[in-house]
């Protein structure tokens, strides 16, 4: 048995490289002199940390519930039924992914707040005078934040589930029917459990993303663990406390994915796509009505209303918002996001192929290691990246100096390289999750068959695995791209001089609660994020 090979070594090395900043941060947080003489963590633990923790968990829990409600049924309908407009609808359901949660949150706060048009209208209509006269849904609440996050994040579960459903074969359903199960029972007892790997990965992504969210909870004034990280680092000035709380977050994420995997281990299921894949049914009139009503409501909430609001902001401030530099920001954003997408997807393929060819605990843990960046709030990750990159820059310049050459300055930490690295580390998990779930579906006997014909690994990968996981690979690319376009906190901190991404540009207005002036930029973010969705919908046959 060859235990040493290029594939394993390179994937191990890259996983370690991705993990290096986190390692540096952990070292700083627990072992540096500053960390040992710092009692901020104890202070926080005694006062507010427990409240923050509870809030964080509630937000994650709420987001998961809403996101599942928004995604599972539409995913099933789009995979199961054939009806007019399905091809458009199944892609349109992904659109809300293009809108950063904090932007929808802003739009809905403006509309639903006490001073907003809806409550004002109600007060005028019913002659209410003060807040104590009536009850109204408080958008700036844990429920509100969960709802906003779920609207922005449900497409993760939706995409994965739709692929999951579409790749299921009919064998088991036929068996179920023979035993007299009805449609409903078949869905809950056969289809849904079979799609569980996809659901689990989707939920893990949503959970991590909502755990690391700062923009939305900050706008809604909900104190969560991310708030605690920012506070302790930027207000108390204690990086070590921030890192300790980050580690607490990581602990959650790791145990979450461990729990999910543990449960799933006992029920592996392989299936072959091909002649037996899910056959589509024609939807009845009643079903059609339900499908369109539900899907269109979700779409309006998650996409149409925020976009229309942004457009109306723009009409008010168009001359001020038109700005030649916006085009340049869009180009920056596009290039960076595309590069990060390609790198993340390539890494995901590398890790998963390695795990497939050499299944070892070590390789599985490499994947987990490389995915850990997803749970770290962007600002903390940014600093974590500056630790090793800054050291490398200093080293490089010292070497050049010793050779009597000119200094090159901060060639790594002061350029877009740092930003690219942040994006890759932060979103490697998304690509990995998507590719991983597809790999899980390829039965090992395919590999065995190929091997018996003396096929070497590269051909096995290129001719058998890759074609089977192409949809998932493209989804991975798409998801990472969109996330990078929307990414804010790391971009703010790591971007070079006079370099703006669309998010950082919009943020300077949104942070001042003046999104109206950044509305054009916000629309561009949405447009840039929509491009890959459109491209995909034209080129890829989803089911």
């Amino acid at each position: 048995m060859r235990s040493i090979n290029v594939l394993s070594i390179s994937s191990g090395a890259i996983a370690l490289l991705i993990f290096a900043p986190v390692l540096a941060l952990m070292y700083e947080s627990f072992f540096s002199a500053a960390a040992l003489n710092d009692d901020t963590f104890q202070d926080l633990a005694q006062s507010v940390l427990f409240d923050y923790l509870t809030n964080s968990l509630l937000v994650v829990f709420g987001t998961l519930i809403f996101a599942c409600l928004f995604s599972i049924a539409p995913a099933w309908w789009c995979a199961r039924y054939e009806f007019k407009g399905r091809r458009i609808l199944q892609w349109a359901m992904v659109f809300p992914l293009a809108i950063p949660a904090y932007i929808s949150a802003y739009v809905y706060t403006e509309a639903l707040d006490y001073a907003g048009p809806i409550q004002t209208l109600l007060r005028d209509l019913f002659q209410w005078r003060s807040p104590s006269d009536y009850w109204f849904f408080d958008i700036r609440s844990i429920t509100g934040a969960s709802l906003m996050l779920a609207l922005a994040l449900y497409p993760y579960i939706y995409i994965l589930m739709r692929n999951g459903f579409a790749n299921q074969s009919d064998h088991l359903e036929h068996a179920g029917r023979l035993l007299g199960a009805n449609e409903r029972r078949i869905f809950f007892k056969i289809r849904l459990p079979l799609a569980r790997p996809a659901l689990a990965i989707g939920c893990t992504l949503v959970a991590m993303e909502s755990l690391a969210d700062f923009g939305t909870v900050h706008l809604f004034a909900i104190s969560t663990l991310t708030t605690a990280i920012y506070d302790s680092w930027l207000v108390y000035g204690s990086l070590s406390t921030a890192a300790k709380i980050s580690c607490l977050l990581l602990l959650f994420v790791v145990s979450l994915s461990w729990l999910e995997r543990k449960q799933r281990e006992s029920q592996k299921h392989y299936d072959l796509k091909g002649s037996h894949s899910l056959t589509k049914k024609t939807a009845s009139k009643k079903q059609l009505l339900l499908i369109w009503m539900v899907c269109l409501s979700i779409l309006s909430l998650g996409f149409v209303i925020p976009v229309l609001t942004l457009i109306s902001y723009n009409l008010d401030y168009l001359t001020e918002n038109l700005n030649g530099k916006l085009w340049l920001h869009a180009q920056h954003t596009f290039t960076l996001a595309a590069s990060a997408g390609v790198i993340c997807t390539a890494l995901a393929l590398l890790f998963n192929a390695n795990q497939r060819f050499f299944p070892k605990k070590l390789h599985a843990s490499q994947q987990n290691l490389a995915s850990i960046g997803y749970a770290i709030p962007g600002t903390v990750l940014a600093i974590a990246i500056l630790i090793p990159l800054g050291a490398m820059d200093l080293g490089l310049n010292a070497i050049l100096e010793s050779w009597n050459m000119d200094s090159v300055g901060l060639i790594l930490s002061g350029s877009s390289f740092a930003l690219l690295m942040a994006f890759v580390i932060r979103f490697a998990a998304i690509a990995n999750g998507s590719v991983h779930s597809a790999y899980e579906h390829i039965p090992p006997n395919l590999d065995a068959a190929a091997r018996s014909l003396n096929t070497h690994s590269w051909r096995l990968f290129k001719d058998i695995h890759l074609p089977l996981i192409t949809p998932a690979t493209i989804s991975a690319l798409l998801l990472v791209f969109i996330e990078c376009v929307k990414e804010l906190p790391a971009a703010i901190l790591l971007r070079p001089f006079n370099f703006e991404t669309l998010s950082t540009y919009v943020y300077q207005f949104a942070s001042d609660e003046q999104l109206e002036h950044g509305a054009l930029g916000a629309l561009l973010i949405i447009a840039v994020s929509l491009i890959p969705i459109f491209v995909l919908s034209r080129t890829q046959k989803m089911s």
Partner: protein, 332 residues
């Protein structure tokens, strides 16, 4: 790879280019850009800016001696002191214009930082329901304002500054009682920014709010927000005793500034009559240079007595203030 080579090349070119000044700014681009443009017009020195509200100090620290930062602009006093305490600043020249432009109260005795504008922490009150007030910050905990007060997060630097000054004047225990009282008087959990509170007063959600003075001017200039500003009175607190709490925005020269001369010129310019007047005109802040009158609008809010306590003394209580905010769970 090609991108990296190009970027590296750009980085090198960037360093080789003469006469630029690199600014790390906690203040938004659109606030400072007009002033920086004026600086370029006068001196021919170009400016490059990175704006972020958070984390810039940590970035400079990490960049160490290779940091491209020449000047750091802050929006509050505590960051000036942070920069100095962490050894990230260097002294400006003894005989520079900064020394003669800015009174000693507003610059560091070791010449490590200089304040550029003053901002007052005002109390806004509803014109219709409360009217103009002769009020002290201390009164905000009084039972008569139960359910009537709105404010942004207690952890925002502007509120932290105020709480720290309360500690400096009244002591920790009394301030804790006060802060608990204010929390009990809140109409809603702390949220939004200073303007959002005035908007809430306008809509009838509360009667009183804390906010910096220049937001009043900014709201008056905005078509949509003018209604909010028109519904409130701007009050200067503690006029009968110590005076209103003020914070400052300011600047430092970074320790490893690659263009120290340009940085010095920028700071001199920012403390000059022209830039000081621009700050007041564009951002409705109070100039620190004696003899520079605030803009007409700012003047129309009337004279006021400012708290003269040394900024160092207030900053020393900042951590205690933060702990209090957590202790009384002000934001929760």
């Amino acid at each position: 790879m090609r991108i990296l080579v190009v970027l590296g090349f750009l980085a090198i070119c960037h360093q080789a280019m003469a006469e630029t000044v690199n600014v790390y700014s906690f203040r938004q681009n659109f606030l400072i850009q007009p002033i920086l443009d004026e600086f370029t017009k006068e001196t021919g020195i170009k400016s490059e800016v990175i704006f972020a509200k958070k984390g810039l100090i940590q970035r400079i620290k990490r960049e160490g001696k290779l940091s491209p930062a020449d000047v750091v602009l802050t929006s509050d006093f505590s960051k000036l002191l942070d920069l100095k305490d962490q050894g990230l600043t260097q002294a400006f020249d003894k005989d520079s214009l900064i020394q003669s432009n800015i009174p000693s109260q507003f610059r560091d005795e070791d010449r490590q930082w200089v304040a550029l504008t003053k901002r007052v922490r005002n109390i806004y009150s509803s014109k219709e329901r409360v009217g103009k007030l002769n009020i002290r910050y201390e009164d905000l905990s009084s039972a008569k304002y139960k359910g009537k007060i709105c404010t942004r997060s207690g952890k925002h630097p502007y509120n932290l500054g105020l709480i720290a000054s309360m500690i400096a004047h009244d002591g920790v225990d009394q301030t804790e009682q006060w802060l608990t009282g204010v929390k009990n008087n809140l109409a809603r959990k702390p949220q939004g920014n200073d303007r959002g509170q005035v908007k809430a007063i306008n809509s009838g959600l509360c009667d009183i709010s804390l906010g910096n003075s220049y937001y009043f001017g900014k709201m008056l200039m905005d078509d949509k927000q003018k209604v909010w500003a028109d519904s409130v009175e701007l009050n200067f607190p503690n006029q009968q005793d110590r005076g209103s709490h003020i914070n400052v925005s300011g600047a430092v020269i970074a320790k490893h500034a690659p263009h120290k001369d340009a940085a010095l010129k920028l700071l001199s310019f920012l403390s000059s009559d022209k830039a000081q007047a621009m700050y007041s005109e564009l951002n409705m802040e109070y100039p620190v240079k004696p003899g520079v009158a605030p803009s007409k609008l700012v003047q129309s809010w009337g004279d006021f007595k400012a708290d003269t306590i040394a900024l160092n003394q207030v900053a020393a209580q900042r951590k205690a203030a933060l702990k209090l905010v957590d202790k009384v769970k002000f934001d929760l």
